[in-house]
């Protein structure tokens, strides 16, 4: 990343190296966030990685204005979301969505695994139909380690607004998915 810096005068070399170090820190700090956001929309690892890479490339070009960590993460989250949604909309007919991952929970048999995958797919299809401002709150809140306070920082909106949108989103999802629990057997 520093290949071209050596050709420039001393002051610029110093500035370039410092920026590169800071960007590397941001990369370590936020690459997983960008991937998770993109995957939450696309549910395809290759597509999510491509979108996240593009988001970082754009962040790199603007890094001089985004050096603050909080600001960088917020900007990256919003940009990644926008890129992912744009790609999702352009690619809606694509059939190669990955099987929805199921965590390592104890299932009695493969039928339960299949049933769990189907339910999960229904949940995500319902999430896909939410308005964007509710959808992004659902996705960000579901990322490990993100409480409503962190989500409010990423979206740069009040925490009360995050809670309100999350409540509305969950209410909408429940209305659309209630049939899942009516049909499924009690544990």
């Amino acid at each position: 990343m520093n290949e071209g810096v050596g050709r420039w005068p001393g002051a610029l070399v110093t500035v370039g190296a410092e920026l590169d170090r800071e960007f590397e820190d941001r990369l370590r700090d936020s690459s997983r966030l960008a991937f998770s956001i993109a995957y939450g929309v696309l549910r395809n690892r290759a597509d999510a990685e491509e979108v996240a890479q593009e988001a970082f490339a754009r962040a790199f070009r603007r890094f001089a204005q985004l050096r603050d960590r909080a600001r960088f993460r917020a900007w990256l989250a919003r940009l990644t979301w926008r890129l992912a949604v744009d790609r999702w909309r352009a690619d809606q007919r694509r059939a190669a969505r990955e099987q929805v991952a199921i965590s390592e929970r104890p299932f009695a048999n493969t039928e339960e695994v299949v049933a769990a995958r189907e339910r999960s797919a229904h949940v995500w299809r319902a999430i896909d139909t939410l308005p964007d401002k509710l959808r992004i709150v659902v996705v960000l809140s579901a990322i490990e380690g993100h409480d409503t306070h962190e989500v409010s920082r990423l979206l740069e909106i009040p925490e009360g607004t995050v809670k309100s949108r999350l409540f509305q989103a969950r209410k909408t999802l429940a209305e659309r998915l209630r049939w899942l629990v009516i049909d499924s057997p009690d544990p």
Partner: protein
């Protein structure tokens, strides 16, 4: 049915909302509502589990390295762009300053004005009393032909132009453009649109009702133009 009154409250309760006292009292004694609340809570657990499962997916192990590679091949526009844009701005300023300050530049520009402009400028005072529809003195549209100059260019007939300048202002506007053309042709170029004649003649600068052509100026001191 009493249960219907509390359905909304119980559903809100299932995803973290408060439960009113009367709803809580009913819930304590109603097995139907208890079962309904359990289903709602199971639904929300299912939703939470599905979202967390998907978002626990990890990227490929070399993901960060691939980002670095992708970024390295992207245009490096951070500091470099800042430097380039600053250098470009400096060049523009230097060029503009040179045009203003370099000795002889003004004189060369002012030293030769299109011969059409001279009689047109002198005639500005007499023409000012004419009808409102006449174009501003100083334009080549109806300006008199040059009296004598080996470099005078033939006066081209001006197509009818829309009148955009109030009659009382045209003389002053005409003088303004004459002085601009004499001393600051590059300013005129920046301010106006270049319209190419459909006939294929060289492009001219037209601001209705004025018409300014890219001509070689002949000698005329700037001071005389400013005074007029």
């Amino acid at each position: 049915m009493a249960c219907d009154r509390f359905t909304g409250s119980l559903r809100a309760r299932a995803h973290g909302g408060p439960l009113a006292a009367d709803a809580a009292a009913h819930l304590a004694v109603c097995s139907t509502c208890q079962a309904m609340l359990e289903r709602e809570e199971r639904l929300h657990t299912l939703i939470d589990q599905a979202t967390r499962d998907v978002l626990s997916t990890e990227p490929a192990p070399d993901f960060a390295d691939r980002i670095r590679g992708h970024v390295e091949h992207s245009p490096r526009s951070r500091v470099l762009a800042w430097r380039l844009s600053t250098a470009f701005a400096a060049l523009v300023l230097v060029a503009a300053a040179s045009a203003l300050l370099v000795p002889g530049a003004r004189e060369r520009a002012a030293g030769s004005i299109h011969p059409v402009a001279q009689p047109a400028a002198r005639a500005a005072g007499s023409d000012a009393q004419k009808t409102a529809m006449k174009p501003v003195a100083g334009t080549t549209g109806r300006a008199p032909a040059p009296r004598s100059s080996p470099r005078a260019q033939p006066v081209r007939p001006t197509p009818a132009s829309d009148v955009l300048v109030p009659a009382g202002q045209r003389e002053r506007v005409g003088r303004l453009f004459e002085s601009l053309r004499a001393g600051r042709p590059e300013v005129v170029s920046m301010l106006m649109n270049i319209q190419r004649e459909e006939s294929g003649e060289p492009p001219t600068l037209s601001v209705a009702p004025l018409r300014i052509e890219p001509v070689v100026v002949t000698a005329l001191p700037i001071a005389s133009i400013v005074e007029e």
